[in-house]
């Protein structure tokens, strides 16, 4: 059952005296209830702007949003502010990258969570407080009840992010959008937060859109992955299919340019040439063409279309926006080179560690 349906979403930023910037240039995807989806791309690809557009959080002036965003049959674009506010938090909640600036520094965190509850459910202050304590406990904050009266600056980065997650889940939204939630955190804290997200999403059955530039994060978390470049989706597939069989030169390039713990140490890194600035507008051809090792003549001239292709492994569809994709045998060779190392040992029953506390509902 489709929870959210985005069709031909376009976001154009205009400023006086400058060329308009097409941050999002025709993005379409669906999210099913309970599904975890990954939006992957580097800076400037439009992934964050997409999420802001869905929630109606973009400024009015100088920004044109077109297309359609339908949540459970209701069109979100163009909704009046009042209805958008009702929807935010209750139906869709968002977690941002920097918890320090997303939390109000002069309110206690207890207040920030109870505020959400009181607004959407008209909960009594006492009930809201009890619920807030329960939520903090659920996200793994020790001495939750006591910490309700603490201020954001009294928490560490990882803890603040947990608070954000707690407040996002307060109203049991159907869809959770996480925009680079762990990018600013240390890797061990990131692992904690990702495990927490995984567990909570499973428990609450909310759908999750994970926005990140880190392919490793989506590999462990997201059922389906969309790779974005310069405002459009260039490849979509289920995660096994995408990582096992990356066909778009950009996706393959990203995978080949990142050093991996499970590869031989001496494996050379194959960077993608040029920089994200070396791009042409989609209307003139493929935006990745200036940097693409697989570029052919037909890449420039007419924009490539997102089309389904045959999948090799895994289930589900594999969509690709490329006229000269990476051939399949190369992708298979990449798989063969990997071997497990002790640092990433497989789980055995004897060494299984305890998981973060789950919600007891």
């Amino acid at each position: 059952m489709t929870l959210l349906s985005v069709r031909d979403l376009e976001v154009v930023f205009s400023r006086r005296g400058r060329r308009p910037v097409r941050a999002v240039d025709g993005v379409s995807f669906d999210v099913r209830a309970g599904q975890t989806l990954g939006l992957v791309g580097e800076s400037g690809c439009g992934k964050s702007v997409t999420s802001l557009a869905i929630l109606g959080l973009l400024p009015k002036r100088g920004v044109a949003v077109n297309g359609s965003v339908v949540l459970e049959g209701r069109e979100l674009l163009g909704l009046p502010q009042e209805e958008l506010r009702d929807m935010r938090g209750r139906d869709i909640a968002m977690i941002f990258q920097d918890p320090l600036s997303s939390l109000n520094p002069v309110l206690t965190i207890g207040r920030q969570i109870t505020e959400v509850l009181e607004r959407h459910f008209s909960t009594s202050p006492r009930d809201a407080r009890t619920e807030a304590a329960r939520l903090l406990d659920m996200v793994g904050i020790p001495s939750a009840a006591r910490r309700l009266d603490d201020y954001p600056h009294q928490f560490s980065g990882g803890m603040r992010q947990r608070v954000m997650i707690a407040s996002a889940l307060a109203c049991k939204p159907k869809l959770l959008i996480a925009d680079e939630p762990t990018t600013a955190l240390d890797v061990t804290i990131q692992a904690q937060i990702l495990e927490l997200l995984k567990a909570l999403v499973v428990d609450s059955q909310a759908a999750l859109i994970m926005i990140t530039h880190d392919l490793g994060v989506v590999a462990g978390l997201c059922e389906k992955v969309h790779v974005m470049y310069s405002g459009r989706i260039v490849e979509s597939a289920d995660r096994r299919e995408l990582f096992g069989n990356p066909r778009h030169p950009y996706t393959a390039g990203l995978l080949a340019s990142v050093p991996r713990l499970d590869q031989e140490r001496g494996t050379p890194l194959r960077p993608i040439a040029g920089s994200p600035r070396d791009t042409i507008p989609w209307s003139e051809g493929c935006a990745f063409a200036p940097r693409c090792p697989n570029r052919i003549d037909s890449c420039v001239g007419a924009p490539p279309v997102l089309l389904p292709i045959d999948h090799v492994s895994g289930t589900g569809e594999h969509d690709l926006r490329c006229v000269n994709p990476v051939p399949v045998p190369v992708a298979v060779k990449v798989t063969a080179r990997r071997r497990p190392t002790a640092g990433i040992a497989s789980k055995t029953r004897a060494t299984r560690t305890t998981r973060p506390r789950k919600a007891t509902s």
Binding site: A219, S257, L261, I344, A345
Partner: protein, 349 residues
């Protein structure tokens, strides 16, 4: 003789209180006794998460931050004894690449000015020679020759980082300390810069100290790797050994936390999750600093005795040192990780 020998390096930042007369009431022990050496031509990776003190180590070696204890000996010269002009001249031989390609270049000076500045500071290329040398440097780092007349804001992050690298090469140093050289860059650009650094090392016989939090990058580029936690080194080993056979519980947890872009590996791997947050560097835990979060903590020794870095003979290959009382037992599988009581950890401030 090693090119760089760091012994018991300490950097404490005082915490003061009081309105009129500031008294010191404590100290942030950013670096609390770090010892390592670096041979000519080698690349040592220094890894750890925020708050471990690795950046401070880098800066205190160059004396951009003054050490409060210990010694730094560069090519036989004790850096602590140098002042003024002699320090300035020695600085020529050790350079730094900074993390942020945006703030490490003066926005009001052209690239040429920025690259010529080190040359002028040491009288290396008077007059016209400076321009030629700048062009050479631009070539070496793969930037277009006409970049000299442009300003930093006209370049992308990756290109600015190349300018930073060119600047560090200008005076032909022996040692380059790279403080998070690629973490501020887009993923697809990181590989370019990493490859460039490797090429330059080959070409000019450079010695690198690479400070980073991205373990995959560090493993790729380093010969040996040192892991830091809360101001101390907890493990040092050849890169391959560290990643194949990590001995210190922190290293094991760190490695298990790194996401790998392979769904099968991710699903199957064992994750050692640390609980809680980093303790305050102003008030480190007693005994082993990691004991408050350690999944292998034992009832004896861990909270009373501070472990020393010691060599583990059981492991094959070069020297593998670790600061843990129970390293051998953990490695042999005799000890199992267990849940850590979260309330015993203290969050930062």
């Amino acid at each position: 003789m090693s090119l760089l020998e760091v012994s018991d390096l300490t950097v404490h930042f005082p915490i003061t209180e009081g309105l009129l007369l500031e008294r010191q009431v404590g100290a942030v022990r950013a670096v609390d006794g770090v010892t390592f050496s670096l041979d000519r031509g080698e690349t040592l990776g220094l890894v750890g998460e925020s708050g471990c003190g690795k950046s401070t180590v880098g800066r205190s070696i160059l004396r951009l931050v003054e050490p409060t204890g210990g010694s730094v000996v560069f090519d036989g010269t004790d850096m602590g004894t140098l002042k003024g002009e002699s320090l300035r001249t020695l600085r020529r031989r050790m350079q730094m690449i900074f993390q942020d390609p945006f703030s490490s270049l003066d926005p009001r000076r052209t690239v040429e000015d920025t690259l010529a500045e080190p040359l002028r500071a040491h009288g290396l290329a008077p007059g016209k020679l400076a321009h030629e040398r700048v062009t050479e440097l631009l070539d070496v780092v793969g930037l277009p020759r006409n970049s000299g007349s442009r300003y930093p804001h006209e370049f992308s992050g990756g290109q600015r980082q190349r300018v930073g690298i060119a600047r560090s090469l200008a005076v032909q140093p022996d040692l380059i300390i790279a403080d998070e050289p690629v973490s501020a860059l887009d993923v697809s650009i990181q590989a370019q810069v990493v490859n460039l650094l490797e090429d330059l090392q080959q070409k000019f016989g450079l010695t690198y100290l690479v400070i980073a939090h991205d373990l995959a990058v560090v493993r790729h580029i380093s010969d040996r790797v040192a892991v830091m936690y809360l101001g101390r080194i907890v493990e040092v080993a050849p890169a391959e050994d560290l990643y194949r056979i990590p001995l210190h519980p922190y290293t094991i947890a760190l490695l298990s936390a790194i996401p790998i872009p392979d769904p099968d590996v991710e699903d199957r791997r064992e994750r050692i999750l640390l609980r809680g947050d980093l303790p305050s560097p102003a008030n480190p835990p007693s005994g082993c600093r990691f004991h408050t979060r350690c999944p292998w903590k034992q009832p004896t020794r861990c909270d009373t005795e501070d472990p020393v870095l010691r060599e583990i003979p059981a492991v094959a290959g070069q020297a593998h040192t670790v600061a843990c009382h129970w390293a051998e037992q953990i490695q042999a599988g005799a000890l199992r990780p267990h849940a850590v009581d979260v309330t015993s950890t203290s969050a930062i401030g």
